[in-house]
């Protein structure tokens, strides 16, 4: 019973799973759709619309057994046809217009075995596929409904099999859902679930404070406002280690950061723990490699380079860098917290004689022009939210030659390691390899790993049973309000 109002920072514009990549789509759509697999806040992969599955033919075929008695919100039954339709659509013409298709290119075809069984034929083994089936483009959509109403209508009137069904959507304002009575799993406690799109963090916090919303989901609440919320007797901050990691990556091609010694020195010059404790209010963990603790491939034994300004100075001297050397740090223009962090970094660098200037760049320009074209300064911000919680997703993009996010470095050994783990289906071997990659990257000091930030939720105390999800993909069927 009751209505929960959630503040979400962005309107994805379309509720069709194939159309978008935004985490803010997922934070709503997780309640509307189901995938064949499901991954909850604990990050464990569990059955979703498929009750079980087996990997066959050396990992090139996966057979799914589908759940019985599931219906879409429009009453249409869920069955193998729906699964096939979903993936044919994703890999076909409709999917081609969106960004999701490229994530699922390892699927060659989907074969209906019987009404309750489907086979996925893969063109090569894909270790992350099962995880990918738990989210985004792989959400199962209703074939009859879509054919009846057309693609355009579906964008704004989503229908799935999830615990909440769609009520209304107003672009840029919000979306309303209500409990779906025939949900196959634990039916929702809430009768209504409303989302409001509020992009301005302090506005979202003001709404939370004034009771306009009950829950603010990440990445919204600025660290600077945490005390404000904590001081309010009606509100709480709930956090969990998140997937988002922050680093300042180096230009390994030119500038003083060409030298590995210098890079190492710069890392050691910065007291990352202080930054986390002071600026981030402890809502982060210092990292040794470019991944958080929940990531597959994380090595708990790996230690960050120590904070040691003396040794940093010495290394700089050895590398022949005179005091007064300059570096430019490019950061995203709209990230106030990281701007503070970077200023602290710059201050620390200043203490070892490196003068850092900070250049805020309009975010999209930075991401789509400056970094890919290799036009950054000596250092640049990279924040990465690996929603698959698999280091491959991060590492391949960051370190493999020719990748968009890797404009400067080219290392055959690294490339080989990355390729090698990709084709493995043996989880342990893969994990080992991923850890090796992390170590290798750290040895080469390819970036200054800073921290992995908690997912920070602001919540009204009248909400009960809320479990924070690291990746904002909240399924709110177990939540209730007073």
């Amino acid at each position: 019973e009751g209505t929960l109002t959630v503040s979400s920072p962005q309107d994805p514009g379309s509720w069709d799973p194939v159309d978008t990549f935004l985490v803010n789509w997922a934070s709503v759509a997780t309640n509307i759709y189901d995938g064949l697999t499901y991954r909850g806040p604990d990050m464990e992969l569990v059955p979703g619309l498929a009750t079980e599955w087996e990997t066959l033919d050396d990992g090139t075929r996966i057979r799914f057994h589908l759940r019985e008695g599931v219906t879409f919100h429009n009453g249409e039954p869920f069955n193998a046809t729906a699964v096939k339709f979903t993936f044919d659509r994703l890999l076909g013409e409709e999917g081609a217009r969106g960004p999701q298709q490229s994530n699922y290119t390892s699927i060659d075809s989907v074969e209906v075995i019987d009404d309750r069984t489907v086979d996925f034929h893969l063109n090569k083994p894909d270790p992350v596929l099962l995880t990918k089936l738990a989210g985004y483009g792989a959400m199962i959509v209703p074939p009859v409904y879509i054919k009846e109403h057309g693609e355009e209508y579906f964008n704004t009137h989503p229908v799935g099999t999830g615990p909440f069904e769609f009520v209304s959507y107003e672009p840029k304002v919000g979306i309303s859902l209500k409990a779906y009575d025939d949900f196959w799993g634990d039916g929702p406690t809430l009768s209504n679930l409303d989302y409001r799109f509020i992009s301005e963090p302090s506005t979202a916090v003001a709404e939370l404070q004034s009771g306009g919303v009950d829950l603010v989901i990440p990445p919204t609440i600025p660290i600077s406002m945490i005390p404000t919320i904590e001081d309010d007797p009606n509100l709480s901050i709930v956090t969990t280690p998140g997937p988002t990691v922050y680093a300042l990556r180096f230009n390994t091609k030119s500038g003083i950061t060409r030298s590995e010694k210098v890079r190492r020195a710069l890392i050691m010059a910065v007291d990352r723990q202080s930054i986390v404790d002071q600026i981030l209010g402890g809502q982060a963990q210092v990292i040794a490699s470019f991944q958080g603790e929940r990531s597959f491939g994380f090595d708990p034994n790996m230690e960050p380079l120590p904070y040691d300004p003396d040794q940093a100075r010495q290394l700089l001297q050895e590398a022949g860098v005179e005091p007064g050397a300059r570096v430019e740090i490019d950061i995203r223009g709209n990230d106030a917290t990281f701007a503070e962090v970077t200023q602290a970094v710059a201050a620390y660098l200043g203490q070892v004689g490196v003068i850092a200037t900070i250049k805020p760049v309009e975010t999209n320009t930075l991401l789509n022009d400056v970094i890919p074209q290799g036009k950054t300064g000596e250092m640049f911000q990279q924040s990465w939210g690996g929603w698959t919680f698999d280091f491959d997703n991060t590492a391949y993009a960051m370190y493999h030659s020719g990748q968009k996010w890797n404009p400067y470095d080219s290392d055959p050994k690294m490339d080989e390691l990355l390729e090698q783990q990709r084709s493995l289906t043996d989880r342990n071997r893969r994990e080992q390899l991923l850890q090796q990659i992390a170590h290798y990257a750290a040895d080469r000091a390819l970036e200054m790993p800073l921290y992995s930030l908690n997912a920070i939720y602001g919540i009204n105390n009248r909400v009960e049973g809320f479990v924070p999800a690291p990746d904002s993909r909240l399924r709110l069927n177990r939540v209730s309000v007073q």
Binding site: Q10, G98, N155, K172, S199, T203, G212, N364
Partner: protein, 302 residues
């Protein structure tokens, strides 16, 4: 007639500037594919194809112009929503806010400006002029936040954001109103001072009219021309500043639309928004010309 042709020219020129400028800012395909791993040039090409970006510029531009005539602006690059749908929601929201702001500012600055003019050189004049400067000293987002703190969080009188009924107009309009007041008070005071020196004001007094009637009936209407001209110009400024205010108050208007569209390089939305806003500004200026005639018979009969 000449004015209308000039107005059309302006709208076309603006749309051309926008169309060219936005294409210099970056590739929307990249923007859409941002989160995807292993994106290849072929994938990007595929997305561009889907968005219709492979057509020659002139075709795309003409399509967007035609859109203005038919009020069909195609689909947003983000999520493929119909831009017309977005605009139809956002335009009234923004216009309502803009007019409310203008109204607030006028409602504040006319009595204050007249007061200052009447008591020229005395302390109340100085006080009004100094106070009106406050609006010039704090940025709109800061003032907005202060208002939210006061009215929504401390007093809990007004909703901090969103567009829900009359109540939600108060704070955004007040913020913009305060900002505009500094210049407007000055303007009203100046024009009023000139008008008050006019002989017909003395004549009105010699008739035995009350001071109120003299000021608000006889003097004010004679100040109307410069005031209307200025308020008309201000409308443009207002639409510019509204981006920030809409963000702070989460107002589902054209500013929000434009801001998101720039961030996502959502050409169809951005182009539609700017063209419509320019059209609005141009239209307001035309209206101002017409209003001249309404308030001042000398212009009407010429």
């Amino acid at each position: 007639m000449k004015r209308v042709i000039q107005a059309i020219f302006v709208v076309i020129a603006v749309s051309l500037v926008v169309a060219v400028a936005i294409r210099l800012t970056g590739d929307p395909a990249l923007m859409i594919a941002q989160g995807a791993t292993n994106i290849t040039e072929a994938d990007l090409e595929r997305i561009r194809e889907g968005l219709g970006l492979n057509q020659p510029f002139i075709v795309q531009y003409l399509q967007s112009l035609a859109g203005l005539l038919t009020w069909q602006f195609g689909n947003s690059f983000v999520g493929g929503t119909s831009v017309t749908l977005l605009i139809n929601k956002a335009l009234p929201a923004t216009l309502a806010l803009a007019f409310a702001s203008l109204f607030v500012s006028i409602a504040i600055s006319i009595p204050l400006g007249i007061r200052a003019a009447v008591s020229r050189g005395r302390w109340s004049d100085q006080l009004i002029r100094i106070c009106s400067l406050v609006g010039l000293s704090f940025p709109n987002f800061w003032l907005a936040t202060m208002l939210v703190l006061l009215f929504s969080i401390t007093l809990k009188w007004l909703p901090p954001s969103g567009m829900n009924g009359m109540q939600s107009f108060i704070m955004p309009a007040l913020t913009m109103g305060i900002i505009l007041t500094a210049t407007n008070v000055r303007l009203v005071r100046t024009t009023m001072l000139e008008t008050l020196n006019a002989q017909y004001i003395m004549v009105a007094r010699a008739k035995g009219l009350s001071e109120r009637k003299v000021l608000y009936k006889h003097a004010l209407r004679n100040c109307a021309i410069p005031l209307i001209t200025y308020f008309g110009l201000q409308f443009g400024t207002l639409l510019g500043g509204i981006v920030v205010i809409e963000r702070v108050f989460n107002w589902p208007g054209m500013g929000t639309l434009a801001f998101d569209a720039v961030a996502a390089r959502d050409y169809p939305v951005l182009q539609a928004v700017i063209m419509i806003l320019s059209l609005m500004i141009v239209a307001i200026n035309l209206l101002v010309d017409i209003a001249y005639g309404l308030v001042d018979p000398r212009i009407r009969t010429k």
